[in-house]
C-alpha cells in the first residue's frame, strides 16, 4: 500500500513542470561547478604528479562537487517537498486517503518514499558526472560511494523535514519557506558557540553539515549514519502525529 501511494506521488511530481525545472537547474549549476573544478585540476595536474601521496582526482574534483551539491539542494529540495501534503490539503483531496483503508503511517511513508524516488534520480544523475571521468582515468570508488551515500542521506533528511513542514499548512509556499529556514538553521547551527568549548561541540554534533563533511571525505562512521536516520525518523514521526492530530482536532 505504501508503494501505491509512493508511485502516485512520484508520478504526480514528474507530471508537474516544477520537478523537471528543479532537476534541470540543479544539474546545470552542478555541471558548471564540476567543469570549473576539473579545470583547476588540469592546471595543477603536472605539479601534483611530482608530490608524494598527492590528492587524486576524486579528492580534488569529485568531493567538492558532491559537497556543493548538498548546498544547492538545500535551496532546491524545499520546492520539491512543499506540495506533498499542503497541495492535497488545498485541493481537498486528503479525504481520499483518510477514508481509504490505509493507516496514517502508511500515508506518510508512501509520500516520503515517493519523493525519495525523485531524490534518488537526482543522486543518480549527479553520480554520472564523476563517472564520466572514467573515460580518461581512474577513480577512488570507495570515496565516491561514501560521498553518494552521504548525499542520499542528506537528501533523505531534507525530504523528511520538508514533508513535516508541508503537513503543517495548506499553502505550499509557506511550507517551502519554513522548510528552507529549518534546514538552513540546522546547517549552520554550529556557527554559534564556537568560542565556548562545551556548547560549540554540542552544536557541531547537531549540524547537518558536520556529519556530511565526514562522509564526503570518505569517512563512513556509525555516528553520522545514526544522526541522519534519527533525523529522518524524527520528522516522519512528527508528520504522522501532526496528521493524526488534525483528524482529532479538526
Amino acid at each position: 500500500m505504501v508503494w501505491v501511494i509512493a508511485g502516485r506521488e512520484l508520478k504526480s511530481l514528474f507530471l508537474s513542470p516544477l520537478a523537471w525545472t528543479v532537476l534541470g537547474v540543479v544539474m546545470l549549476i552542478l555541471a558548471y561547478l564540476f567543469l570549473a573544478q576539473l579545470d583547476t585540476y588540469m592546471e595543477f595536474a603536472a605539479q601534483l604528479a611530482l608530490l608524494e601521496s598527492a590528492p587524486g582526482v576524486t579528492d580534488i574534483v569529485v568531493a567538492p562537487v558532491i559537497g556543493d551539491a548538498a548546498v544547492v539542494l538545500l535551496l532546491a529540495s524545499p520546492l520539491v517537498t512543499m506540495r506533498l501534503v499542503a497541495e492535497e490539503r488545498r485541493a481537498r483531496t486528503l479525504p481520499l486517503l483518510y477514508s481509504a483503508p490505509v493507516s496514517m503511517t502508511e500515508i506518510v511513508l508512501g509520500k516520503y518514499l515517493g519523493v525519495m524516488g525523485f531524490m534518488l534520480v537526482l543522486v543518480g544523475l549527479i553520480a554520472l558526472m564523476p563517472l564520466s571521468l572514467l573515460l580518461g582515468g581512474g577513480l577512488d570508488f570507495g570515496k565516491l560511494a561514501a560521498g553518494l551515500l552521504g548525499l542520499t542521506l542528506v537528501l533523505g533528511a531534507f525530504a523528511a523535514a520538508g514533508l513535516f513542514m508541508s503537513s503543517l499548512t495548506a499553502q505550499p509556499v509557506v511550507a517551502a519557506v519554513a522548510t528552507f529556514g529549518l534546514l538552513l538553521l540546522v546547517w549552520i547551527v554550529d556557527w554559534a558557540g564556537a568560542a565556548r568549548e562545551g556548547l560549540g561541540d554540542a552544536l557541531a554534533r547537531l549540524s547537518l553539515l558536520r556529519h556530511y563533511e565526514n562522509l564526503v571525505k570518505g569517512i563512513v562512521s556509525t555516528a553520522d549514519l545514526a544522526y541522519y536516520l534519527l533525523f529522518i525518523a524524527l520528522f516522519l514521526g512528527l508528520a504522522v502525529r501532526r496528521l493524526d492530530a488534525e483528524r482529532m482536532g479538526g
Partner: protein, 316 residues
Amino acid sequence: MEREVLLRAEGLYRWYGERCAVADLSLELARGEVLGLLGPNGAGKTTTLHMLTGNLAPGAGRVTVAGHDLLDDPRAAKAAIGYLPEQPPLYRELTVGEYLRYCARLNRIPRAEVPAAVRRAMARCGLEGMERRLIGNLSKGYQQRVGIAQAIIHNPAVVVLDEPTVGLDPIQIREIRELVRELGREHAVILSTHILPEVQMVCSRVEIIHQGRIVWSAALDELERELAADALVVGLGHPPAPEALAAVPGVTAVEPLGAGRFRLRHAPGASPAEAVAEAAVRGGWGLVELTPERRTLEQVFVELTTGEAAQEKEAA
C-alpha cells in the same frame, strides 16, 4: 426481508472549540436503504459525514461499519465505505483511468482485479470512453461522476455522498439521481443535501438535522402519510357566512383567506371535497376553486428548523 444493518452510529458528539457542531447523533442504515440527510447550511451534515467516514474522530460515541468498529478496526471498516466529499477528491493531473486505478489499489483491490473494477465503476457512472481524458479538463458534471466512480470502485457496503448533485445541469442531476437509486438497491447509501425534492425522489428515509441534532426522522412511506392532505382550499363566487361552510359534514375548521377563498381543515385522509361541492351547488355559492392542500416536505423542514430557533430566542 431481514434488515441487515450496515452502518450504525451511536451518540456522536463533535465540538469545534466551544461550539458544538454535532450533539448526540445516532443513526442506522440497512442494505437497500437510501438515507437522505437534510439540513440548512451549517447544520452539521458534513461534520457528521466526516465522522462516519473516518475523516474526523468523534468527540464521543462510536461508529460501526458492516460490523467493524471504525476506531478499533479502521482498516476493515474503511474498506466497507465509499465516500464522495462535497468537493470530489480528484488529482487533476491524472487521467480518469490512472486515477481510478490508483483508487482501486488504495482500497486494496488485488492487482489482477483492478482493470475489471475500473471498467465496472466507469460503466456504472457513464464514463465509457473517458479513460484517457485528463481529469482537470473534464466538465464539472463529469468530475462529479469520476468522484462517484471513486466512491463505488471497491464495491463498498456503504456509500456516503455529500451533496452529489450540486452544480450540475438538470440532465446530469437526473442521471446522478438515477445512479443513486440504483446504488441503493445493492448498497446502503447516505446522501446529504439541502435540495428538498431530491430527497423525496431518491430516498427511502429522511433525517433532518438542525443545529447538530436529528430533529425529525421518517421513512418515505410514513412521510407520505405525514404529508397527506388535511385541508381544502375553496374559492367561491358568492361566499356565504363562514358558519355555513363549517356546517358542511367533515369540515373541522374554516379559515377565511380573503377574496372569497377559504381554507377548510379536515381529518387527514377524510376529504369532504364531495360534500363541499354539493353544498356549494345547493346554496348557489358559485364554486370556482377546490384544491386539496398538501403539506410539503419544505413546510415540515421550515417548521422544524425555524420553529426551534424561535423557541430558543424566546428562552433567551
